[in-house]
Symmetry: C2
Subunit: 246 residues, 2 copies
Amino acid sequence: MLEISSASNSLYKRLLSLTEAKGLKKEKSFLLSGKNLVQEHLKNPKLSLESEIFTEGMKPSTSVKFQIKMSKALFETLDVLGTHSPLLVLQQPEIPEWDFEKKHQGLQLLLPVGDPANLGAAIRSAEAFGVENVILLKESAHPFLPKAVKASAGSITRVCLFRGPSIQALKDPEILALDLKGTNLSDFHWPENGYLLGGEEGAGLPAGSKFRRLSIPTNQVESLNATVALSIALFHYSQRPKRKKS
Amino acid sequence: MLEISSASNSLYKRLLSLTEAKGLKKEKSFLLSGKNLVQEHLKNPKLSLESEIFTEGMKPSTSVKFQIKMSKALFETLDVLGTHSPLLVLQQPEIPEWDFEKKHQGLQLLLPVGDPANLGAAIRSAEAFGVENVILLKESAHPFLPKAVKASAGSITRVCLFRGPSIQALKDPEILALDLKGTNLSDFHWPENGYLLGGEEGAGLPAGSKFRRLSIPTNQVESLNATVALSIALFHYSQRPKRKKS
């Protein structure tokens, strides 16, 4: 077991950098926090475990080989969500570039979501409703920021993530996009294969974009919360009549 | 126009108290923030306007009679969401006690949501999908906290709000509640009149509760985000076949 109480310790500085996008890009590790998420991951690990971090008064797990005991003050700077519970350091999965030229099966989700909590929530719904792959557009927050991991309730460690271009560079008119006006979702028949573009709270579609617009029928002219709208569309997708496989 | 630059000014102290539940209960006013929400309200006011608060570098609206110019430092303590845009002080609507004995038309929503942002988002979806009334249970956050007002995108100023008991005191087995197990939402026929109980993120239903459980079919055993689950149920409700009025 390693003990760290100095803020100038190089391992501590590396771990602290995982609370921000810059460090996450450089280090290729991330912090998993939250008692339930940590316990779930130890029971059923999906990604390589590097270490566990804890502080006085906490019981670290018996199954993790590399333990780091931090002073209370240092621990609190890593526990940015205030979980007061041990953290895991996990390896980020590779996030390959998405190949738009290839033919893909099922629904692929394109996400330009800059707010980490909204990104995580969108990925949680994507997993729940059977989206095959999640393609993070340039506008997206880093998916392994603590808030994104938490809001995903762990989905982010399980779904297949890819990198895509900027939303501005998406030109395919067959891409489905949620908007205030468009084909009423209730009357919509989902294609067997395709792309759905999620929205960013408060931001509309790029000017002049030629996507196939879908809209969720509501009582008001007002838009829905972007994550809510996406989740409703994905629920509707998951309810589509399944084609029989021949 | 009134100018305030001292933190010991009594009007300032009253306004500052509106950023927390205790002050909101006592004062019966609330702060509306966010450029779009403020403009929308001035165009189409739903609640009585008391004043507008701004600071140097901001252009207050010409239509508000009672203007308060604050020093930058004081203004920032009131602009808790960091909108950098004038704030309105509005009168809270009366929130009467809900009468469970009376017969009510349509779907009524019961909310035990302690997180103000989740509460606001739930109310936004309720308005979008035609819920008649929103009943705030004892567990709910104050609906006029700045985060709740923002997440509601203004819905909170338009829906009919009522007060209800604690979730623990709800005994009617006819109340519909979302849960991991229960009648599959896809096969569910909504009653013409009834109650739907929303959920709190991370919290289950009270032990021993006898509500009629509804569940949203997903790929995983994992639950959905509570606001997402509620919104999907409300979308499904809004899609029910309407009975013909005779």
